[in-house]
Amino acid sequence: MSANLYHDGVDILHGQRRLWSFHGGIHPPQHKHESTNLPVIRAKLPERLILPLHQHIGEPAEPIVQVGDKVLKGQMIGRAQEFLSAPVHASTSGTVVDIGDYAVPHPSGLNATCIVIEPDGEDRGLEHPRVGDYLQLAPSALRNLIRDAGIVGLGGAGFPSYIKLNPGKLDGIDTLILNGIECEPYITCDDMLMREYPREIIAGLRVMQHALQARVCVIAIEDNKPEAFRALHDAALHEAGIDVILCPTVYPQGGEKQLIRVITGKEVPANGLAIHIGIVCHNVATALAVHRAVQDGQPLVSRYVTVTGGGVSQPRNLDVAFGTPVRDLIIQCGGDPAAVKRLVMGGPMMGYALHSDAVPVIKTTNCIIAATEADIVPPRPVMPCIRCGACADACPVMLLPQQLYWYAHTNDLDKVQEYNLFDCIECGCCSYVCPSNIPLVQYYRYAKGAIWIKEREHEQADIARQRHEFRLDRLAREKAEREARRRLKKASLAKNQDNTPHTEEAVDND
């Protein structure tokens, strides 16, 4: 441990709660110090903000503004219609100039619906009602407030936070974990946030604790962030029931299930959720967003983003308004967009390559890596699996990656599910250690998608079968009804015929 961890001559790690460990994990080169040297500054507002309506897990928001509308900073421009969704807010004041399809950050490189705002440069905010004392609010009212502020998990997944702040039928959660691990290389946005806003993060944590009625709170930070740890430790010194914990650095400790294992020793069951074992995990940046929503009535309109890699001369963290194109950030950090060989959103382990530098920063964007030729390892030839088992040793979920690979690449989708493909968190440890350079995670992603497509086709086939059978039934019924009507008519005509024999001609004509 570095000398930083000694505070006023006392070892502040003394008496820290016991930690467990998870299976496997790796220690890739950190590359974190590059982007922590410069202070965080606000990114310049671009000429046009592109705000995708789908910045989270779940259904996209529905636009509630029209082209030509004037909007204020923090004004809701996209409403969440479904349960699993989040609203979108204008990140500065200006005019809506277009609602249409634009390139969005997504591994597919496809376009999606976005609201484009031309800033008026005044950055005027909407007056939001402030919540005096959140403790007076019922947890459900607090959750609605957090939902309306558009807050989603800022660690990278973007799951709507208000759902994770609902304890459901449980009368309170045992442990609320605040995730300040940030285990992926290059990313430092949570580190900088923790250094600068420790008190606000803890205030947000208290709000979350109230919503969940959590018994204990734990803030977990990896030991490669001693400054952040000190800041939070000091801020929590006189707070009861908050443990700030330093964890030894290992990737992927920031994964929810891995972190729960490290902190509590408990295992989240397969196909289960952390909440089922009385634990809820939120990111530190989410806690800050919750604090701002509750204290200042501010919706989520900006975030810290790490801009790093060889393609920028001043790698640093920026406070970026959502909708700012990545290209603008690269220029602001002293990079030449034309010289960037590859752009990655997220970290090198779990991030994805961007197809264009025109895509905007969204709620889940934690890091932009602008890689030049020198950063990229030339692709090494993929060789056959030699069954060395290094991937199984590294897998934090204790899967058998080599078996999964075997069945995924032969398209044996039943077998790959038997080997618990859906427990894979796609952390990339297996690919990282593979001596044959097999892109293992790509196979698992592919297999998950293939299974999803197959299941959807099955569902659609079932519906088509039902509709077809219903149609056949209907046709048969209509035919029988026609038949019955004809018989009835014939019978009545025959009757008439008996009574009045001279109408024979009319019957023949029928």
């Binding site: 969005v104 591994p107 597919s108 390559a353 692709p379 990339g428 196979y443 077809h468």
Partner: protein
């Protein structure tokens, strides 16, 4: 000798009764094999196999009247699944039945529709909505892409269009084509 004949006789009567009871008690309605084959077929109801729908084709396969390689929408995966179920050798798709095509949906050029209802009558899954002399439209989610509505249209206003990919329906491709984000120094 007599004891042996008697005991075997009694046993045969007992087992006979048991089997007879089981045959009545556990009688299976319909042919379970047809159901299993039908579950594999894509339910496009397009008739390219030469039968009027997926279930008639399944019945024909079960009775041995049809081969397993007559379903173009099911593709190679469908043939493999059928071969696996029936314990037969897989074979390539019979070209007489058509080619494997990308999945499409029908789209009506609505201004040109004259409201003749012919396509409604042709649709095997009731996926076209409309009434006589009123404009018709396709319920996209229910359309199986069977092509059967295209030919009857007297004004040729129905076309088959590929399903647009969105970021929600997109899935990672197989690794050969994938762009790999990892591997940094």
């Amino acid at each position: 000798m007599l004891a042996a004949v008697l005991s075997l006789g009694v046993m045969s009567v007992v087992f006979g009764l048991l089997l007879g009871f089981a045959a009545v008690r556990f009688k299976v309605e319909g042919d379970p094999l047809v159901d299993k084959i039908d579950a594999i077929l894509p339910q496009t109801q397009c008739g390219q196999c030469g039968y009027p729908g997926c279930r008639p084709y399944a019945t024909a396969i079960a009775s041995g009247a049809a081969d397993i390689n007559q379903c173009p929408p099911g593709g190679e995966a469908g043939i493999l699944a059928l071969a696996d179920l029936l314990g037969r050798d897989p074979k390539p798709l019979n070209p007489e039945n058509g080619q494997v095509k990308e999945k499409m949906v029908a789209a009506i050029d609505e201004p040109r529709c004259i409201g003749c209802t012919l396509c409604i009558q042709a649709c095997p899954v009731d996926a076209i909505l409309g009434a006589a002399k009123q404009m018709h439209t396709v319920i996209e989610q229910e359309c199986t892409g069977c092509d059967l509505c295209v030919a009857p249209c007297p004004v040729d206003c129905i076309s088959m269009v590929p399903i647009a990919q969105t970021i929600d329906s997109w899935r990672w491709p197989a690794p050969e084509k994938a762009r790999i984000a990892g591997s940094y120094r």
